[in-house]
């Protein structure tokens, strides 16, 4: 298994380089030299040249063939990769703060929303899926499926706007916007759960029903095990692998934040930071969030595979 883990960990390198290459292409090649934006409308050529030089924007984009082979990597993209590897994320040209500080300040608020959202969605999704599976093909099952499909079909923007208008503005049950106390989190979490639980329910229900028709369930039933016993002791246990996949792969997104919820409800987290960086073409912030996001995604993918062996000892990783 250790060889497998090492192989998976090493795969972080090409995947992250690939992701960064695409991001770099969009922001530096298509987006142009940021020195013009930093220097502003009254800039002199000397000022632009100086900013370009200080920030390395005057170097070749990918490889420096002019100084081959000694300085081949003295170019913008290799420099960016080197900085990111050293966790030097640079400075936002919009806020002029260090990106690492901005990320550090954003993680907490993001987790404040995404963590309860994640667990409530998980428990509710699995719980309702078990209920639907237990009462499969009855009105309870059909109603749950109908509600989940309806929930999935409506854009989360609609939920946000309805919640802000009715629950916050008209009925004043919650604050419209803000991040002052746990009370401010109730509405974004509620909206996130309503918008997301439909998909979870559909997924887990399918997983449960797949298990319900397995031979071991028929055997258990023949041995006289109750339906509830079968569901909780056999089906749920055997459905762990897809549940684990779904759960672990979602963990990186807890850190990257909930883009829409954070933006609409004023949660100063990483999702909001990323959205604003994209709007402002704030490339250093985008490079940092993309870099961290891609590494976490690959690592948690590997972790999912490892978790399979823990959940089901029959699985061997080669």
């Amino acid at each position: 298994m250790s060889a497998y883990v090492i192989r998976r960990l090493l795969s972080v390198v090409p995947i992250t380089i690939g992701v960064m290459l695409i991001t770099f292409f969009v922001f530096r090649v298509v987006g142009g030299n940021p020195a013009y934006r930093i220097a502003g409308k009254n800039a002199t050529p000397a000022r632009i040249a100086q900013i370009s030089h200080e920030r390395g924007y005057d170097k070749p984009l990918f490889l420096n063939f002019r100084q081959f082979p000694t300085q081949l990597l003295d170019a913008q993209f290799p420099q960016l990769c080197s900085n990111l590897l050293r966790l030097d994320f640079g400075r936002s040209f919009v806020t002029k703060q260090r990106v690492s500080t901005m990320l550090r300040e954003g993680v907490g608020p993001s987790l404040c929303v995404t963590t309860p959202l994640f667990f409530i969605e998980l428990f509710l999704g699995v719980g309702l899926a078990l209920l639907a599976a237990y009462y499969r093909n009855t009105w309870i099952d059909r109603s749950l499926v109908l509600l989940s499909v309806m929930g999935m079909s409506i854009s989360s923007l609609v939920y946000i706007m309805l919640a802000q208008y009715w629950l916050a503005s008209v009925w004043r049950l919650f604050p419209v916007w803000g991040f002052e106390s746990p009370r401010y989190l109730i509405l974004p979490v509620l909206v996130g759960v309503i918008a997301g639980v439909g998909g979870e329910l559909r997924f887990y229900r399918t997983v449960m029903l797949d298990e319900m028709y397995q031979d071991y369930v028929r055997t258990a039933r023949a041995k006289g095990v109750s339906s509830r016993g079968i569901l909780f002791h056999h089906v749920l246990r055997n459905a762990l692998i897809p549940i684990l996949t779904n759960v672990i792969i979602a963990i990186p997104f807890l850190y990257t934040g909930a883009l829409l919820l954070e933006n609409f409800f004023g949660i100063p987290g990483l999702g909001r930071l990323t959205v604003m960086a994209l709007f402002n073409f704030d490339d250093d912030v985008v490079f940092a969030t993309t870099f961290i996001g891609s590494i976490m995604f690959v690592l948690f993918n590997a972790l999912t595979d490892i978790a399979y062996t823990w959940a089901d000892p029959r699985i061997r990783l080669k």
Binding site: K96, R98, P109, C112, S169, M276
Partner: protein, 599 residues
């Protein structure tokens, strides 16, 4: 396999621990509900370093906590600078090259740990010398260096010398143009007359900062303002919320007792003579979604709201007055003209649309530019793209600035005339003598945005009506700036927001020596224009100078260097409990005049 009950217990524990850890230390308490507080919406903000106050939001935040030598009178019009941290307006030498300011004694920086004993010290002339040098320091990348560069004696040499230093900059390196001749006397020496100096000294770039704070906080200086302004920063959570409280050591400024006719009747002089600021606290929320802003405004949590395109029709009746529902709530509407002009520029060095040494071709190209301008239905443009929120422009100098006239625009939309002009330019029906369609390329910023796409479609359709094939390239802002800066354009969309209330700020965009890579992005070169520009540079405000401004505007109109589009209008809604608001073209430090009634 792991029993599901254990997994459930593990997940539950994880949920509780993770939520507790993530939420525990991050909340801040909101004091917005406490009494005399002004709550508003802020925006992107570069921090509290005056040298970075290039945008509206940064300028406003910096103006709460820092001040400069001069500021604009709040109620008087036309806009004019008045003393703020000086004892009076400066003495100006007869050659217009030396400005002497007497600093007000007794003005103190706020108390802060950066000072010995934590006690704020008195502001002296040397602080201004230090602060002005920071604006010029190339390592700080200030976009405001133009206010001194090229104007102040020795500034350019100083920049070169300092720019060559790798490492900490030594501000004791003398700069002949900035001299503190004694504790309270500041002298600015210019390389050439620069009457606009008084205007640029009102800008945030020229605000005074103590060197102790810059040295004490280092990279964190932008998060720790140490100024003399009416407020001091209480808390700042980036991307979320700012809170200011009254500065207890603010230097005795009072509400103005004079204004324009009508100000008294409007209640704008009711607080004359009262000590500033009038509110105890300002809270700013960083809200980006307009829907949320709207809900907060209707809920009375913020004192004002702008109007996005999508909400314009909900709030504004067809006659551009406030909707009856909002009138019933006591909400007031202000239409504030932004001192700016949007236009389409032509590169005068381009072989297809620019000037030529051959007078016949030159005249044809001029007719081509005029045809382009006449083909754009600007009234329809502002209606379709901006819901009539903007006004069609008739002069490149916006209303309210000396030199603006009410003369109708020479190239108002007239399709028949545009067709005739394009034919006279040698392209009847938009085709040359070989039957090939005339193809022009235009650039505009905002790649990927809906607004840019709508505008591009509009221009292409307008030119198609006269047979011209216009290709509009939507570029990222950086690439757009580069192309404009380097003169790699044929036709380009442009906008200029005036930096100070003097048309010279616009006229510089047509001055020959400012051609690319300077700010004359059209590369317009007209010796007669340049001569007049050099004349007005040294003239103080006078009817003679205004007449020259008008003549120069006429020259650029005749040559059709720009096809004019619009003047921007900002629509603002205000709560009935918000008082003392008067629209202002340069409103950044005005928070100290605003008043909030109990509500």
């Amino acid at each position: 396999m792991m029993p599901s009950s254990r997994l459930l217990a593990l997940l539950s524990a994880g949920a509780i621990i993770a939520t507790a850890i993530s939420c525990g230390p991050v909340f801040t308490s909101d004091s917005a509900d406490k009494g005399n507080t002004l709550c508003r919406v802020g925006g992107d903000f570069k921090g509290f370093d005056p040298v970075d106050a290039v945008d509206v939001e940064s300028a406003r935040e910096v103006s709460y906590v820092y001040e400069g030598l001069l500021e604009y009178a709040y109620l008087d019009r036309p806009y004019h600078p008045i003393p703020r941290l000086t004892q009076g307006m400066p003495d100006i030498s007869s050659d217009g090259l030396t400005y002497t300011f007497k600093i007000k004694p007794g003005v103190r920086f706020i108390d802060d740990p950066c000072f010995p004993g934590g006690k704020g010290r008195e502001v002296v002339a040397a602080d201004f010398v230090y602060s002005f040098k920071r604006v010029l320091d190339p390592h700080l990348e200030s976009q405001g260096d133009w206010i001194f560069a090229g104007h102040v004696l020795g500034a350019d040499d100083w920049v070169k010398e300092i720019g060559a230093i790798n490492g900490p900059v030594d501000y004791s390196v003398p700069l002949p143009g900035f001299q503190a001749t004694d504790k309270y006397t500041l002298q600015i020496q210019l390389a050439k007359p620069y009457p606009q100096l008084l205007y640029v000294l009102t800008m945030c770039y020229a605000f005074v900062v103590p060197h102790e704070a810059v040295e004490f906080y280092g990279q964190q200086f932008r998060r720790h303002p140490v100024g003399t302004g009416p407020f001091r920063l209480k808390s700042w959570r980036p991307n979320y919320r700012l809170e200011y409280e009254r500065n207890p050591t603010f230097n005795g400024q009072t509400y103005p007792s004079t204004g324009e006719p009508g100000d008294r009747a409007a209640g704008l002089l009711d607080d004359a003579g009262k000590p500033l600021p009038l509110v105890d606290r300002i809270v700013e929320y960083d809200i980006r979604e307009f829907y949320t802003v709207w809900q907060m405004f209707l809920g009375g949590r913020i004192f004002s709201s702008g109007l996005s395109k999508d909400y314009f029709e909900k709030a504004i009746a067809p006659d551009l007055s406030l909707s009856p529902d909002l009138v019933r709530r006591g909400i007031r509407l202000y239409k504030v003209p932004e001192p700016s002009t949007d236009y389409i520029g032509f590169n005068m060095l381009d072989s297809a649309v620019g000037v030529s040494t051959d007078p016949v071709i030159n005249e044809r190209h001029r007719k081509l530019r005029q045809a382009f301008a006449s083909a754009i239905d600007v009234k329809k443009y502002v209606e379709v793209i901006f819901n009539n929120r903007y006004m069609p422009a008739n002069s490149f100098i916006p209303p309210g600035v000396a030199g603006h006239t009410d003369k109708p625009y020479a190239y108002e939309f007239n399709l028949e005339r545009a067709k005739q002009l394009i034919a006279e330019a040698g392209f009847p029906g938009g085709r040359d003598e070989h039957g090939n369609a005339l193809r022009l390329t235009m650039i505009l910023p905002g790649a990927g945005s809906t607004g840019a796409r709508q505008e591009a479609d509009f221009y292409e359709e307008a030119l198609r009506a006269i047979g011209v094939e216009l290709i509009v390239q939507q570029l990222s802002f950086a690439e757009y700036l580069r192309r404009e800066h380097d003169g790699e354009t044929q036709v380009f969309w442009g906008a200029w927001i005036i930096d100070y209330p003097d048309a010279q700020n616009f006229l510089q965009l047509f001055y020959g020596p400012n051609k690319c890579p300077g700010i004359n992005a059209c590369n317009y070169q007209n010796p007669a224009f340049d001569r007049q520009y050099e004349r007005i540079l040294t003239m103080a405000d006078s009817p003679e100078r205004t007449a020259l401004y008008e003549q120069m505007a006429d020259m650029t109109t005749t040559d059709c260097v720009w096809a004019l589009l619009d003047y921007r209008l900002e629509y603002g809604l205000y709560q009935p409990w918000f008082q003392n608001y008067k629209p202002h073209g340069f409103p950044y430090p005005n928070g100290k005049y605003y008043k909030v009634l109990p509500h």
